[in-house]
Symmetry: C2
Subunit: 491 residues, 2 copies
């Protein structure tokens, strides 16, 4: 466990991979680019799901489930959409296997070829809008606000655990509205939910903004996003919310009778976050001792480890430990008591440190005599001895202090790595040597954006919402610009 | 809503379909055999998931996620398994689409052919045991008790909403153990969880038993099952739990060092229930007025409908209605207050009746004056006027009375449709003219089982656990038999 572990200053990418593997979060499977999400990693995803699902329901959304398969022809209905998604998808062509004539092998049965190929959903706008056509006739059927928790497949060539895999888990919201204003408001509401979740649960500071045309979702009018800065100075897109206009309604012919009894196309949004968020969580907070988890998303918030030489001692300690465990659980705090006798305390210490458990309690025979208990914080690595009587209140407060501290550290990092660049030289220097978010003027053309990308690998991450207007000159073309946008290298 | 609705005595199959469609549970999608689970149907599935998930975790299981795709070669590793599952599966052969040379179409890119085809999982034993090989070295790694909530695909030719669709949602548990005894105990524990859930949440009486060799899961040593009787006299398998012996450990070479430091193959179980349970729920309790839901699984347990002629009346009623709603919600009861002014009360009555909401409350201006409220039960269709002061306690009690009543009705039906047959004529008569469960002697051979199936369409549903031994003669062959088994026509 956690031996031969890379340092993040030396090899960030290897450090990331080591945390994912050695903290038992996920691993690659026998299928190219597909991951197995291990129980500990999946329990973090369950926390993410439960929190977001409640936020969605509290804002009037319901869950539903649409097919995994999309008929090939559906893809072509929305012109931009097919360009964006046809390139990397898994195609089902047959529906049966058979034994080969020599009896030695299992082969595809050529007699079982599908008339029309089916695509494994890379995203579900097309199959959902084909369904909405049946559900929407009148303004009374609107708004329709549905979310789906599902697996999707995008045949990525270069994969990284959680950040980019062929199959991943996500939620995708798909809503239908009677007016443009209402759809725009929905797209922004969901962006705000994502930002709230990122900052107050994941403890990751994010910038809310809008994508440029070239970074937009294929089929959207506008893509809103939240962007965060990872500890290696690269940006990670953490969630997107799309205003789709009437594009999909037109592609799938979804009209409704409005209150004035006139037919109009429906207005749409879609929005999603994925298991990629676990990658963001790892990269935002972890250190050279392993994972660091914000208490609100930690599957185990407190671990209790007994120090004992014999069964008699363990029994005595267990009584006290289980008493503390119960009191903490009554407060809604999740606790693990690890009384295994097959592992030494030191092994357990580093195991839970590596897995990012926010608080570790240690109880030994002397603590029983003195009514004391040792408490260690994962975020600061501080250790202290407390009276047992105070420990429950102490831990309740501490969990919220740790949550805030982790956020503050990430915010300080982001602030310290956010720059303004006013010349091309300055810009290139920052991107190349420092990394981070760079606020710079841009002339607004896709051509300049592309050239900057080619020369520096930096892309426009977002145009922040409520961006202050400021006269300036494009760092690349020198043409006039009215606002700064955020550049960064990105995952 | 609910017009042209079939009667179950006239056309059971159409009646079933009408309920699924008109109660907004599910519908077919554009993809052959695949369903869309609509929000109301999905919210029942969420209740099923939440309840079972807690039961699994309380018995020491964790969730994880394994890939959707299974390499074709994995299938062939376990000989029985491939026979059972290779026939009806979705095969991915390519990973890219492209625009055709004439620019008119999107076609499969023949240059993007996979070296080895991938099968969409029909069940995950193979990919999971390939993974367990990496996770299990010693007895310290055992038991390994993992569950997965996932979609699976079986290319069924004849589909029926919820009961048999090409894609469906399920959970599949996969556990690994050091001893045969422990694996057997796990398989039985999970069967008991399923039976408990079926009877005490779904209100469906079930028979626990074991499958004959020919009805067994492909790759199992023994398949335990719960079987229930639907209102048309046909049986439905509601859940299965398999003792897999060392079959998959041998196929995927998963060995462990036991406490005596010797290498041995690991013992396994797998177990699952699916969205088919929603089909069982519908068919067990519903009537000619639509769906009937047991309170413990009803997404909405109480609906409150106001009777009003103008906004002033509605406002006054709403104050009282929302007060009652809050009091009920404080007791953990889910309540919907339907104050829409676009629908008449009569429309709402039949809508919620059709959707199976257990309790309907009606509040009108006169109720406000008299401090009364009307309460209607969905299960008995009884209506009564109560004092508002008593209503919260009344409803709390009533929900548990309804839960029990629904179970009791289903149990009476099952008892009244369970027969003993001692001769072949008697047997054929019951199967053909009455339906139901038939306890009869069988000589224990697959040959006889097959012949009975061919002649009557009845199959051996199960050999009940703790079946009393009883000397007798096989109803078909006349050969000696030591116990009765349960025959029925089945879904």
């Amino acid at each position: 466990m956690a031996t031969n572990f890379s340092k993040k200053e030396e090899n960030y990418s290897q450090w990331y991979n080591d945390i994912v593997l050695k903290a038992d979060l996920a691993e690659y499977s026998a299928v190219r680019g597909c991951m197995v999400i291990k129980p500990y990693g999946y329990s973090i995803w369950e926390k993410i799901q439960a929190t977001l699902d409640k936020m969605f329901k509290d804002t009037g959304h319901s869950n539903a489930y649409f097919p995994l398969f999309i008929p090939k022809s559906f893809f072509s209905r929305e012109a931009d959409h097919v360009k964006g998604f046809a390139k990397e998808c898994a195609v089902v062509t047959h529906y049966r296997l058979k034994t080969s004539d020599d009896g030695k092998e299992i082969i595809v049965d050529e007699n079982a070829k599908l008339e029309e190929e089916l695509i494994i959903r890379p995203t579900s706008e097309t199959i959902i809008w084909d369904t909405y056509k049946k559900w929407i006739q009148s303004y009374r059927d609107l708004p329709l606000k549905i979310n789906q928790w599902a697996n999707v497949v995008r045949w990525e060539m270069r994969t990284r655990l959680f950040l980019r895999t062929a199959e991943f888990l996500w939620q995708e919201g798909h809503t239908a509205h009677a007016t443009k204003e209402e759809a725009l408001e929905e797209a922004q509401t969901m962006l705000n939910i994502y930002a709230n979740f990122a900052e107050n649960w994941m403890a990751i500071p994010v910038i809310k903004g809008i994508k440029t045309e070239s970074e937009r979702f294929a089929g959207a009018i506008d893509t809103y996003c939240i962007e965060a800065l990872m500890q290696d100075g690269k940006a990670l897109q953490c969630g997107t919310s799309h205003f789709l206009g009437q594009n999909f309604a037109k592609a799938f012919d979804v009209k409704f009778l409005n209150k004035e009894n006139k037919l109009d196309y429906v207005w749409a949004t879609s929005w999603g976050v994925s298991t990629r968020l676990i990658g963001a969580l790892i990269m935002s907070h972890s250190d050279n001792k392993g994972l660091v988890l914000p208490p609100k998303l930690a599957p185990i918030q407190v671990v209790i480890i007994p120090i004992f030489k014999n069964k008699e001692q363990l029994d005595a300690i267990s009584i006290k430990a289980l008493e503390i465990k119960n009191l903490l659980e009554d407060k809604g705090i999740s606790v693990k008591y690890d009384d295994r006798d097959t592992r030494k305390p030191g092994y357990k210490f580093s195991e839970y440190e590596f897995k990012g458990i926010p608080i570790r309690l240690v109880l030994g025979p002397r603590d029983l005599e003195n009514n004391t208990i040792e408490l260690a914080r994962r975020d600061t690595l501080e250790k202290n001895i407390y009276q047992q009587t105070d420990i429950i209140t102490k831990i309740e407060n501490l969990l919220s202090i740790i949550q805030k501290n982790i956020f503050q550290k990430a915010l300080n990092y982001t602030d310290n790595n956010t720059y303004k660049a006013d010349t091309w030289e300055e810009f290139k220097d920052i991107i190349e040597n420092k990394g981070g978010f760079v606020f710079a003027h841009w002339d607004g053309t896709a051509e300049t954006e592309q050239k900057i990308k080619e020369e520096t690998k930096a892309t426009i991450r977002t145009i922040p919402l409520n961006n202050p207007l400021e006269e300036g000159k494009c760092i690349y073309s020198g043409k006039p610009s009215k606002q700064r946008v955020i550049f960064a290298k990105a995952y």
